[in-house]
């Protein structure tokens, strides 16, 4: 039972602090009880409040009808209160406190019985050396108060209780100079799961998330469901923000792990904003706003991560808004460029195609990294327009290259959502005249995670046109082998993190070997991404990769230079090896 919930009239501490009994109590318990064996007031046996009278030896000598009903099946006369309560499963401490009540004028104790009933007991000493106990069954009251503060789906605290708990903890911080962290947690991709797989499954998923959440917390931490897919945690700890950072990292990992639910494999993520009192403030609203700013930063950083509030975060968010404003204009102001990185056939050493990569050159900012502006473009909803521009540009420029050299263009998961992808691609091909067989579209696992049946249909239509599909960054996400079976793919691009230093890392070698063999068995090509040295190239060749892309075989260059690379004949790995 949390103290914050206790309604005033049942608050034992408050009642104890009040001191003397009220007038009506005097009338009931005053004169007639001066002698324990004396006459009882006529009202006493019929009172709704359960009343027990103890003699000076603390043995029960009288119970009224309500008290008898409370302890049905037990004959209490002659027992001590401690024995009576313990026999009903009350916690020892509570029972002892009641029994030892002596010197204080009035003692109030909340007692929890084994059958989950909750009694508020009030002990008053009598002038004859005995005691009178009144017991109030507050079970329903306590339970409904608790329900009113609980999220019915997950059983976690709701927003109201979270706020009360936060105020309580902040009072403690003000008094004792302890530290409290607030974590605001947003689930990534939950809405898509809920929409595509249905609300009952979404609800079941939320229950699993809250189980993982509470499993990672200590008893004294507070976990709450604040809204649809928003959770909050209050963590008191001496070492802040260190403790909160450890917890946030653990929660990002834990909540982001795969779920299997009713036969579905489900991937969601967690993004977390953290703030710490008293460092970042002592006002609940200010702290919640700080945590929200930190959460916003974590989302801007690409989700699936956490950020701790820092002074200056407001300024950074302002900077991000300015970036977004510039980004919205960039397309119209022709600030984007496309460069092309060679993809080399490992067997022949010849360039088989190029991957189109976007570059943003801002007149004041200078070059802006795609890692910075692509997530921003996705967030503000212009990624489809930008991707479409890259696609058209790449198709047009590839037309200037000789032969059957292909061009690979990246698709954003967002493009699968708006339902126009097939139309955009066919329009780009017909406008530029590029044969479909020379176009390759690179997708990431992120595209396959949502609404996979619709995605599957689009991919099949694209392939039916003769376009090839590659799985980009393979091995960094969930890398579910079932995707390889379910989706029509022509190529797997093994992420650069598996290729770097592969000549010194046997684990990476084994992984690349297995992926290459797997792809071969499924009739797919494999591209090793990020090859930077001859030793790495030799490794991926001997492990069975069919293509290579990286600084060693060629940096990204403008279209004209790409054409020159092709005509000069200086291309591919074999020529470089002989350098």
């Amino acid at each position: 039972m949390r103290h914050g919930l206790t309604p005033p009239r049942h608050d034992p501490d408050r009642a104890a602090a009040n001191g003397s009994p009220t007038g009506s109590d005097q009338a009931l318990f005053g004169d007639p009880l001066r002698s324990a064996s004396g006459p009882r007031p006529t009202a006493l046996p019929e009172m709704a409040t359960a009343v027990i009278i103890l003699n000076e030896d603390r043995e029960i000598e009288y119970v009224n009808a309500s008290a008898e009903a409370l302890f049905a099946g037990v004959d209490p006369i002659g027992c001590t209160m401690e024995a009576l309560l313990t026999s009903c499963g009350a916690r020892g401490v509570e029972a002892a406190r009641l029994s030892s009540a002596a010197d204080e004028p009035i003692t109030c104790t909340r007692v929890h019985l084994a059958d989950s009933r909750v009694l508020d007991c009030e002990v008053r000493p009598l002038s004859n050396g005995g005691f009178v106990l009144s017991l109030d069954d507050v079970t329903d009251h306590v339970r409904s108060a608790e329900l009113a503060n609980r999220d019915p789906l997950t059983g976690l605290a709701n927003r109201t209780l979270f706020h009360h708990q936060l105020l309580d903890r902040l009072e403690v911080v003000k008094r004792n100079s302890g530290r409290v962290a607030i974590l605001l947690i947003d689930l990534d991709r939950f809405k898509a799961i809920n929409d595509t797989l249905g609300h009952p499954l979404g609800d079941a998923l939320l229950r699993k998330v809250s189980a993982r959440l509470t499993g990672a917390l200590r008893d004294e931490d507070v976990a709450a469901r604040l809204g649809g897919d928003e959770f909050g945690v209050i963590q008191s700890a001496a070492e802040q923000p260190d403790a909160a950072e450890l917890l946030a990292a653990r929660l990002v990992d834990l909540i982001g792990r795969t779920y299997v639910l009713e036969g579905h494999t489900i991937h969601i993520g967690a993004t977390i904003g953290v703030t710490v009192a008293p460092r970042d403030g002592l006002d609940a609203d200010v702290l919640l706003k700080n945590a929200d700013l930190a959460l916003y930063q974590a989302k801007a950083a690409g989700k699936g991560t956490f950020r701790v509030y820092e002074t200056g975060m407001t300024e950074r968010i302002q900077a991000r808004r300015l970036l977004e404003i510039d980004l919205r204009r960039a397309l119209a102001l022709k600030q984007f460029d496309v460069v092309y990185q060679p993809q080399v056939d490992i067997a022949t050493g010849a360039i088989s195609g190029f991957e189109a990569l976007i570059r943003w050159q801002h007149p004041v900012r200078g070059p802006v990294s795609p890692g910075e502006f692509i997530p921003a473009a996705e967030e503000i909803g212009i990624i489809s327009a930008v991707s479409e521009w890259v696609l058209r540009t790449a198709c047009r420029e590839a037309m200037s290259w000789p032969g059957d050299i292909s061009v690979a263009v990246n698709l954003s998961p967002v493009q699968f959502r708006n339902g126009r992808l097939l139309e955009v691609v066919t329009s780009a091909l017909s406008a530029t005249g590029l044969p479909a067989s020379r176009l390759e579209l690179e997708i990431t696992e992120g595209a396959l995670l949502e609404n996979s049946d619709a995605v599957l249909a689009v991919l099949r239509s694209l392939r039916a046109l003769g376009i090839r599909i590659s799985m980009d960054d393979f091995g960094t996400g969930y890398s579910s082998l079932s995707y390889l079976q379910k989706f029509p793919l022509d190529k797997i691009k093994i992420d650069r993190s598996f290729i770097r230093n592969i000549d010194h890392e046997p684990d990476r070698l084994h992984l690349v070997r297995a992926i290459a063999a797997l792809a071969k068995g499924l009739g797919m090509k494999t591209t090793a991404e990020g090859v930077e040295t001859l030793a790495e190239l030799q490794c991926v060749r001997s492990e069975g990769c069919t293509e290579v892309q990286g600084y060693f075989t060629g940096r990204p260059v403008p279209a004209r230079e790409a054409a020159a690379l092709l005509s000069s004949g200086v291309q591919g790995s074999s020529s470089r090896e002989n350098d």
């Binding site: 779920y259 082998l481 684990d507 068995g521 009739g523």
Partner: protein
Amino acid sequence: MADLYRLVYYSRNRVADGPEALDTAISSILEASRRNNARDNVTGALMFNSGCFAQVLEGRREAIEDVFERIQQDERHGDVSLLAFEPASRRAFANWSMGFVGASVHETMRYSGTAEASGFDPSRMTGDALFETLVRLAIEEEKA
């Protein structure tokens, strides 16, 4: 058995360094999973080396989902990669409440080579390279 599912995953192990700590961790994992699995009618096999766990679980869908959720919340597993989760026609490890195979580094080498060696038939990819490896190692273990 109706509603029979098979789940295959591997994870990086986060057990503290040192062979004794590893042995203790493995024993406790195996003991717990054998006890729970016998109760829930879950069968399967666990492969382990100093770097990772690989496990196949088979049984009723709900039982498999519960076991996997426990694994996901277990600190000893890091980076859990789910390789397969799908209906299965029959149990491959019917006699194993949790078989333990391939503890040595040599077995890891063998696992890595599986995809190449077994001449994959894409139509039967449901089992994964890993599943095939575990089945083969389990059979060898039974013979030994």
